[in-house]
Symmetry: D2
Subunit: 220 residues, 4 copies
Amino acid sequence: MSAEAVPVSGAAYSPNAARQIPGDGLTEPLRLAVIVGGARDGTSGPVVAEWFASRARKRADLDVDVLDLAQAWLPDQPHDRAAVPGAVRDLGHWLAAADAFVLVTPEYNHSFPGAMKTAIDWFCDEWQAKPVGFVAYGGSACGLRAVDQLRLVFADLHAVTLADTVGFPDVDNCALHEGHHEAAEALLDRLTWWGEALRVARARQPYDMPCPAKGDPDEH
Amino acid sequence: MSAEAVPVSGAAYSPNAARQIPGDGLTEPLRLAVIVGGARDGTSGPVVAEWFASRARKRADLDVDVLDLAQAWLPDQPHDRAAVPGAVRDLGHWLAAADAFVLVTPEYNHSFPGAMKTAIDWFCDEWQAKPVGFVAYGGSACGLRAVDQLRLVFADLHAVTLADTVGFPDVDNCALHEGHHEAAEALLDRLTWWGEALRVARARQPYDMPCPAKGDPDEH
Amino acid sequence: MSAEAVPVSGAAYSPNAARQIPGDGLTEPLRLAVIVGGARDGTSGPVVAEWFASRARKRADLDVDVLDLAQAWLPDQPHDRAAVPGAVRDLGHWLAAADAFVLVTPEYNHSFPGAMKTAIDWFCDEWQAKPVGFVAYGGSACGLRAVDQLRLVFADLHAVTLADTVGFPDVDNCALHEGHHEAAEALLDRLTWWGEALRVARARQPYDMPCPAKGDPDEH
Amino acid sequence: MSAEAVPVSGAAYSPNAARQIPGDGLTEPLRLAVIVGGARDGTSGPVVAEWFASRARKRADLDVDVLDLAQAWLPDQPHDRAAVPGAVRDLGHWLAAADAFVLVTPEYNHSFPGAMKTAIDWFCDEWQAKPVGFVAYGGSACGLRAVDQLRLVFADLHAVTLADTVGFPDVDNCALHEGHHEAAEALLDRLTWWGEALRVARARQPYDMPCPAKGDPDEH
């Protein structure tokens, strides 16, 4: 897996390609998926994600993918898991391969965007027994209220959310200062601890929480 | 305004029709909008909404609309308010005319569906200084964890959410029993108190919280 | 009721005095109770409360009490309402007389202090159908995560919590700047709107949500 | 460590005794601390805790302590960590020795009791990088709203809260049925997975999140 940003849609992201990606072995770098929050009209999310990912890529113990939900075109119908669309299956391979997640989320009206929730709801075991960190922006609380609601969502999905966060009050007017760099490093340190702890534990004993079966509509 | 269920899309729901609807006077029945949560693949939401609306329609002090978000086809792009699509403007007229809301929401993974959040985010002053009640279903907590997250969203939008709720653990297998009927009546009693209190107050002094201007893309 | 800070315990605060306090009439100024959060070892809470109260007292439409929970000495046993201690009854008179509340709360570990929750739990109809605003401090989110948890508590108590808040990241090192003054004025404006709306509504039709009876241990 | 219930106060619980307790080795059974929520006037908490602990004690891979906060007499002043009272230090030894926690909590007004929050706030590294499960009771949501607020508190404390919970709508009138037994077993299975995963990880690399120093008032 190279360190370049990964296009979520298109040929570079086919299931076959995903299956060939290394990274499952315990001596490999941890696979970190940075997920950009899903609003299709803004530019802040990708900018923030790229800033964070560029720091993560400097670490030898992490292998970084950037997954932009705005380019994943997930259908807005999260619960008919018997017939999973191709767009969902494509993204799922990348999530399944990850050992740790960072969600880059704006805050709209005290919470996350609907598109992010739709994306989360399409998946199940892809999240289990893995750590989730947050880089948030917007609102008077630096996006942290969106983070709080996501914490409860991921608790239900058997993931662990990290206390350390990076929050920006206002991305447009905010020059990145040293405090944010330090917060990003603290988050990466913590992600590595939890990511490694849980990768070891999943290899020793698979996490036994059943998810609904995923059907393939093409096979029907 | 008749008591029939209101189709959200189509000619019966044009802006002009909405503008002619009575119900703004203080001696009129309160306008109650029952909003169905937005998942496009299920049938539970409309069934639960119709059950609740049928009880509400028995009251002389309420005038009931049912707005099904699955039929509103709102675009998944909530924050470019400078160019508001027609589907959003159509729904907005009905929300603006309402004195009180009841949201019928499932719970997915500890929270509301993404489509419901997208719908909420498209609007602003339509929600302000009005009461919001909940009829929820799903999960071990009868949908009440989705309700909790919505409470914080609506707090940010200057609405008041009611303590009384109606919650179903599992709609499919659940015969409606007397407890749910009583809970529905309690919720309607409370909605009426708050709806009347705030209608009087808004008439006396408009609620002064500015929202972003809504542009009309057709005028560009 | 004078505009001075009110000692919570002692003779100045007897039930009889409270009963004679004007302010229940609809033409009277609204009674605003500023409640200081309950940690006994710090000084930030009273300082923040006095700063906020001094601004509130400049308004002719508000009559301001400051109630410091650290001086109320409420017992840590909130649910034997059949025998209500004198300290609780004393505080209850002041809360019952209030038309609106502002809670001054620190944030400890993402939430409110235990002592504040104990105080809230001692009361019931004292909170109903009244607005609650927040002045918060502490933590990376300026105390707003403590506020979020309190929003859900007060929703259960049939109160309405206001979107507008005042938040300080770090009281000790924080010179009060103009942004906080503006936030305080916005909160007071909003409190007045909701306080007046709900005072009128309660006078028109009492809020009909029964609370447990309060026994008087002295009468046993 | 025997499997008997542990008196929280008194001689049986001295720091020296705690230090001699085995259980830190990786081949030892996991130490599970069942913490009873802190209301001093009720009996439901201890009854529920004992029911849960009796199931946990049947497992060879767990060593169970029951810690009743009502008997710990923690002072209501959680943040002067420079002078930690003896009651806090005593309890801290038991918490530090635990690999996993189950909190038995009632729900009062949508949240946890104040006394439980006070107890949590007295500690810091005792909670870090350990799993926390919940057995909750009360309210229309079976105590799960108290659990949700505790999830955010423990996220801040670098603990992981488990999705699986046991919830009772009404302890007094509720005969324990098979569903609760199954939920308890599921929670214990999950606690074991997380407890073992994190015990291994902490032994491999200590969790590096500094806490405030604890002073000893006796040494001053």
